[in-house]
Symmetry: C2
Subunit: 197 residues, 2 copies
Amino acid sequence: MASVQSTAKPSARERLLAAANELFYAEGVQTVGIDRVIEHAGVAKASLYNTFGGKEQLVRAYLDTRHAATADRLTRAVAERDTPREQMLAVFESQGRQFDRPDFHGCAFIRAGAEASPGGLVQEAADAFRGWMRALFTRLAAEAGAADPDTLGRQLQLLYDGAGISALMDHDSTVASTSHAAATSLIAAATGASAEA
Amino acid sequence: MASVQSTAKPSARERLLAAANELFYAEGVQTVGIDRVIEHAGVAKASLYNTFGGKEQLVRAYLDTRHAATADRLTRAVAERDTPREQMLAVFESQGRQFDRPDFHGCAFIRAGAEASPGGLVQEAADAFRGWMRALFTRLAAEAGAADPDTLGRQLQLLYDGAGISALMDHDSTVASTSHAAATSLIAAATGASAEA
DNA sequence: ACTCCTTCAGACAGATCTGTCTACATTATG
DNA sequence: CATAATGTAGACAGATCTGTCTGAAGGAGT
């Protein structure tokens, strides 16, 4: 099954996923055509169709890759903190660090979902990612002793989504501190703890 | 300049805007082609290009129309309440009523912005709308006596955007109560008032 | 009656997109 | 060496999209 090369050039599949990640995320799924992806990947068109079957499946694979990468990043950020309250805030801090990246272009799932037709592979991938995010927030809310973990988890997801939207559309990376402060308030209100800085 | 007819059929401009509003909002700006818009409007293609100049300008006019309609709706919802605190919550209640509409498909500006190229007419329209929303929240926050009206205004906009995203992508119209409760908490925290139900 | 303006209906050009197909090169393995 | 899998390069078909253009119909005002 290959997958051991290090200096040699990666497989066609890996190059296609890398090119799809750069182009689809930067410019949108609908805007970028197949020809630009294969040119950027340095791959023949037949390789794309042999490997993935079609554009929609490539988009699905691109979203699955981002799902895995984001889940890894947030899981690591959470693991670095000790208390559930700090772990919830660590999610917003990790998100805020993404806002400062020059290649930041908002949440890939929201953007792809806004373009895709309902019921397709894109919506499947978006549902999976959003379910994972909500489960993360809800679990941490429960561990923090929230009276209603499900409600606090949903509230934090609202802030997380809203912050991503604002960072994308308002070009305002200071929104990270806004969402962090709001999360602090909501956590305090839901757990009855003090909201000290 | 016309504009007095009532029973007769509306002008080509009005029919085009109505068709654009239905199709662009329901299926996306990029997905819907010019031919479908003019067919749905019962209008010749030349009328579209004579009236608006091109697709991008039609999209811009469609977004401006939605901006005006949404501003009217929220302004009326705010005017029905007496205190600034209730007026802020009225914005979320009005948004929540939109979630239950069968033709609800999320925030038109976020969806169009996710598809459009940066720096174009779509982004102009989105900036205008988002600026209006933020000014509304900030003004109400100041009138409510918030210690930092700008921060509370931004926080409420996070919730507003997040609620719209969740209603669109999770098909969960109960998010309205979640955002309402979160807004209540954040208002209470920022004004020092009690957050009674 | 005559003219101007809007509108309609649709052909047409030029570009682009997805997906298929052929033919050839490379590489690993038996 | 031989074979099979994988990848490359690019032509090609079929569809679709934006935008332009021609030609005719209808209504309003002088």
